[in-house]
Amino acid sequence: MNIVVCIKQVPDTTEVRINPQTNTLIRDGVTSIINPFDMYAIEEGLRLRERFGGTVTAISMGPPQAAVALREAISLGVDDAILLSDRAFAGSDTLATSYALACAIRKRGKVDVILCGKQAIDGDTAQVGPGISVWLKIPQVAFVKKIEDCKDDGGTPVFRVARMTEEGHDVLDVPLPCLITVVKEINEPRLPSLKGMMRAKKAEIVTWTAQDIAADPKKLGLDGSPTQVMRIFSPPVREGGQKLVGEPAEVALRLAEKLKEFIHP
């Protein structure tokens, strides 16, 4: 089984601060981590390999330092890693990013399943995974909490998956190749092993540019991104409410008056 896991390097949100003057993220001194939801995607990729054999490839788009995230993926047991890094990708929104990732997956060759975390903790859009499946014209299931089994009776193999919903879950059959985004309920990610870390240290991270993946430059970067960020800001701090103090009966009366004023000013 050819398994591809798409991962994103994100700032560790427990440490993120925003510059109040410029309203931008302060990235200095903030550690970068693999998007936590992508850790579940990596783990599920490794488990699919343990169940059905094959290889797991991790792909990430980002600046050269995103190679660190790919090395971490290798330390966990991923077979190989590809970094998409090129100035042409800069400023890509979810549409352009999913296009670039789709081009890279197409270039890589035969794929049976693409796994993504349900969303990234920095942008929280949950659009890149499904976007990839649209560009590749393959089916997708988002928010999967279990890959139950794989029916392979000579024809097209089919995954039976459980998709998490607010009330419970749906059971769906999805033919391969397909794209699946996973929720944290799907597994418990493993820790790296020493041998994995050694391998990761020595591993060569393949870097592909826009040209390498034969991408249409008009669909990349700012040109390929219909989304434009107008402004980033911290929401205003909520002002404290009004506190009514006194005997319960009297306070209740005053509260009732205030509510009346609120409804009929």
């Binding site: 493993r190 820790l191 790296p192 092993s193 020493l194 041998k195 870390m197 050694m198």
Partner: protein, 387 residues
């Protein structure tokens, strides 16, 4: 202090710390209270390849040495001295193989130990033979191609949980110390069973049990080295393993210091954090300095052994004795800094004090260590005066 660790050593230390903090710390209180062997974490250490750090690469290890073993043991001890000793005792059971095993014995057992699939243990101590290793009563009688083992070992760490045991038994009682031999005995060998499980003051997440041999028949290929080498195997094993106990003590001290420092910054009395009072601050300063001094000694000896030095009895004894005395002192002071809370089981600190005590006792009591150090000093001095 920067000890100029290699990149690999930093990797070993940080990976162990991650497992210890994220996976072990949440389980410690429960396993300590239940007095149960902490298999979930031992399995994680195995999956992370940490059982192979001191074993050669050709046997599936990482090719490190005592230094790497000490780093893992220290990091585990910062969180739980019991899990640390379960780990280190497997190394203790493996050391005789590393030192005296034939190529065939190493090829058979080391890969299983390096992968963490099987734990090892060392069986020397008997009810009447502790510090006096020459007084052991377990016998191994030659019978054709086999040895027949009879007798009992007690206080054996990892007993019952380990699969591979190094056992010291008398092959010739008339020769005293020179009449003992070392054997590898596998769990499941007919005639080899486990006795009483001890209830202990500390290191309760590790298991300590009796080994019972009743006409236990083992093939002569299980003999380590030659007949009569039992005492030498034991002494050389302890020279190599004492830094491990020292590292355990060091980790316990560091872990207690970390907790005491955190607590002293949070705990407010007289409107100020208690760390701002000289009485507490000076205690912390002493605890930190003693712990760092112990670390210098432990790492120094570990590197000495790894560089191929075989005359390490004195230094190895110094590291074990000093680090364990420091652990007892630092953990006692840490409980003191916690005050009344420190005495309560709801707080994690009293466990460190309970765990520290054993490090002054096992692998040779600290009185025995002083004997070794003193005797070495006198021997060295005599040799010098003869020159």
């Amino acid at each position: 202090m920067d000890y100029l660790l290699t990149e690999e050593q930093i990797m070993v230390r940080d990976l162990t710390r991650k497992i210890a903090e994220e996976k072990l710390r949440p389980l410690v209180a429960e396993y300590d209270a239940k007095e149960e062997f902490c298999w979930p974490v031992i399995k994680l250490l195995a999956e992370a390849d940490l059982f192979g750090v001191y074993i050669e690469e050709k046997y599936g290890g990482m090719g490190g040495g005592v230094m790497e073993l000490c780093l893992v043991t220290e990091e585990l001890s910062r969180v739980c001295g019991g899990v640390a000793v379960s780990y280190a005792a497997s190394a203790l059971g493996t050391d005789p193989l590393l030192l005296f095993g034939s190529e065939e014995q190493k090829g058979k057992y080391l890969p299983q130990i390096a992968s963490g699939k099987k734990l090892a243990a060392f069986g020397l101590t008997e009810p009447n033979a502790g510090s006096d290793a020459g007084a052991i009563e377990t016998t191994a009688k030659k019978s054709g191609d086999y040895y027949i083992l009879n007798g009992m070992k007690h206080f054996i760490t990892n007993a019952g949980e380990a699969e591979i045991y190094t056992i010291i038994a008398m092959t010739d009682k008339t020769k005293g110390q020179r009449g003992s031999s070392a054997f590898i005995v596998e769990k499941g060998t007919p005639g080899f069973t486990f006795g009483k499980k001890e209830e202990k003051l500390g290191i309760r997440t590790s298991v300590t049990r009796e080994l019972i041999f009743q006409d236990c028949k083992i093939h002569k290929s299980q003999l380590l080295g030659k007949e009569g080498l039992g005492f030498v195997v034991t002494m050389k094993t302890f020279d190599m393993s004492r830094p491990g106990v020292a590292a355990q003590a060091l980790g316990i001290a560091q872990g207690a210091l970390d907790l005491a420092l955190d607590y002293s910054r949070q705990r407010q009395q007289f409107g100020k954090p208690i760390c701002s009072f000289q009485g507490i601050k000076f205690m912390l300063a002493d605890m930190a300095t003693q712990t760092e001094a112990a670390r210098g000694l432990v790492y120094g000896v570990a590197r000495m052994i790894d560089s191929g030095n075989t005359k390490v009895s004195k230094e190895s004894a110094m590291a074990k004795m000093f680090a364990s005395d420091v652990a007892m002192k630092v953990t006692t002071d840490a409980v003191q800094i916690f005050g009344g809370y420190g005495y309560m089981r709801d707080y994690p600190i009293e466990k460190y004090m309970r765990d520290a005590k054993i490090t002054q006792i096992y692998e040779g009591t600290n009185q025995i260590q002083r004997e070794i150090i003193g005797n070495s000093l006198i021997k060295e001095s005599l040799a010098q005066s003869k020159e």
